[in-house]
Amino acid sequence: MTLDGLIDERPRTELLDEYAKREIRRAMLSAVAIPGYQVPFGSREMPVARGWGSGGLQVTLATVHREDVVKVIDQGDDDGVNAVNLRRLVTSSTGARETSVAAEATVVQSRHRVPEDGLDENTVLVLQVPVPEPLRGVERDMRELARMHAEADYSRMWVSLYEDKVRNGVITQSTGYPCLVDGRYVAATTPIPRWDIPRLHDAPFLTLFGAGREKRIYAIPPYTDVEPLTFEDVPFEVEDADGACCALCGSRESFLVSLPGAPTWLCSDTDWCRRRREPSA
């Protein structure tokens, strides 16, 4: 018998071996136990490239069971090419069913958005994280970053926010706004828009953050304090659409994205927009 003869050549649908899933689940449990802390894990290479949701995909694959119902969005859109691609990988390898309706989903994997509605205590939100380190803008050296988090020394972050405000009149951080989680760790909120930040505070659902390239998993457990870093006299501002409404559903109460040129605005959460237009659906 040769080694080649022992190799099982049958086509496989699994993207991760069971040991890897177990390791990822352990990292997820640690992350839930220490909200906002970036737990290192042995991130595996996935069929999608690093930077394309490989971390979110690993977290989702370690979470999803055949009984689960999965929603996958990119920019709030269920039909974006990357969302479609990740969804078919998840459903084909796990046997889970798919939905675009957030309230039907037990696991929602998302890039750059929190769905406008439908997330409750039965939902796990998995966010794809390109850069898990919120302090990289003020410090590059990982040894120093580890010290700053360990000692909760966020002074340079505060100084940078202060300087931003003094120089520009507003805090110019757009998405991925740094937040203090459970009063202890400053965490990077993927890049979700500021619009979504208040919706993470004291939320009924579990949010898991998967950073595959940087090999970190962190979490915001249900009903956890999430405070955007800001000053007492400088209120945190979500994106302002200057009174615009969605050209399709007329919404003013959702995160809107604009089309270039003509002043046309659309809901970024496409399924939420669809359901407002088709109440029967």
């Binding site: 080694l3 993207l15 991760l16 071996d17 069971e18 040991y19 290192p40 042995g42 290479e45 996935m46 069929p47 490239a49 690093r50 930077g51 394309w52 990119d74 920019q75 859109d77 269920d78 039909d79 974006g80 090419v81 990357n82 479609v84 798919e98 939905t99 675009s100 309706v101 039907e104 750059h112 390109p130 590059r140 050296d141 990982m142 040894r143 580890a146 520009n168 009149g169 507003v170 110019t172 951080q173 757009s174 998405t175 991925g176 890049p191 979700i192 828009p193 390239r213 090999k215 994106e239 302002d240 659409a241 200057d242 995160f255 809107l256 994205v257 604009s258 970024s268 496409t270 669809r274």
Partner: protein, 374 residues
Amino acid sequence: MGYVSARGGLDAIQAAERLVRRLRLVSDSTWLEEDQILDKLRMLVDRVMSEAGLWDPRLAAAAIRQSEGDVTEAVHLLRAYRSTLPRFAYSEPSDADDIRVRRRIVPAFQRVPGDQLLGRSVDYTARFLERQSDEDAREEAEKLRAEHATAVGDTAANDGDTATNDGDAARTPRRLIELLREMDLLVDRRSVGDPEPFDITRVPARPPAPRSALLSSMSRADTGALVNQWYRNILGPDGYLHEVTLGEVRHGDLQVVVAHPVSGEAVSVAEVRVTEVEAIEDLDEIGEDRTRFDVGYGLCFGHNERKAIAMANLDIACHRDAGRTQLEQSLLLTTDALDSAGFLEHLKLPHYVTFRSMIERKIAVRKARRKHDA
């Protein structure tokens, strides 16, 4: 459960997939066999195995064919495949002294213990582009085959650079650094313990990390990334390294041994080819032993001297740097082909939510300025 497709995302990516397959598979030329890739694109197969951190020439050939020669894509295919497989065993440590060399050069001395063995190298081959016809090439191949068979006997006449008349001693030459040690010209950094090596595939390596993490990270790093890390220290903004003198440049075969699961005896299960380099560094900093040299080490799968030389030089540079700069972080975190290429290419993904938020802040700054100026 409801899933409503609105704008044909699935159709678009399926059409792209069909186009990939059609352009790859449909043509009038002959089918590219794995064997052809293994035989004719040997350096490419070696490079892909090295950057994938996976020794399996046949899988590498399949990946190269599927990726149409895109090295990083082939590396991705191999690593993602490996993610689906459980790990059953660990090999026993292999002693690099057991490498049977196919090529071995020692630039540091004219004559050295063991011989200089130029072996297969294009170093001194004039780089003329050959426009040989297929017919002439085949004719030449037959001639070369016959010549080689006469020279070394008929056995394994086609087995590249291993089939020679050399005895074992010539193929496992003594190392130059042993001689330097005898001359008391080397700093002795040999450690007594035998710590478990850092497994970069299971634990993310971040500074400060043990040397084994650094070496294994560089061993499967992108070749171009390591060459660039080296050169930016020569001519770029970083100046953390010297040009070293090379003590050994070797390319050869090494047995991979595992403990038999039943008997516990050591069994050779595979033979891999590696490139190994020892770089001799002149210690000239304050606090260093100015009477001696130190040595950096490089080893990677396959024949890839560029990579192993860069690795050996960066290894000793990182040791001498001793955490003063972020060289270690650069080597551990920025040289992996899939990390850097994946993140670079992710910029092609839709970013209209973040961009919308950025535009909103631009307008907010303008409003704040108008208010301030008013």
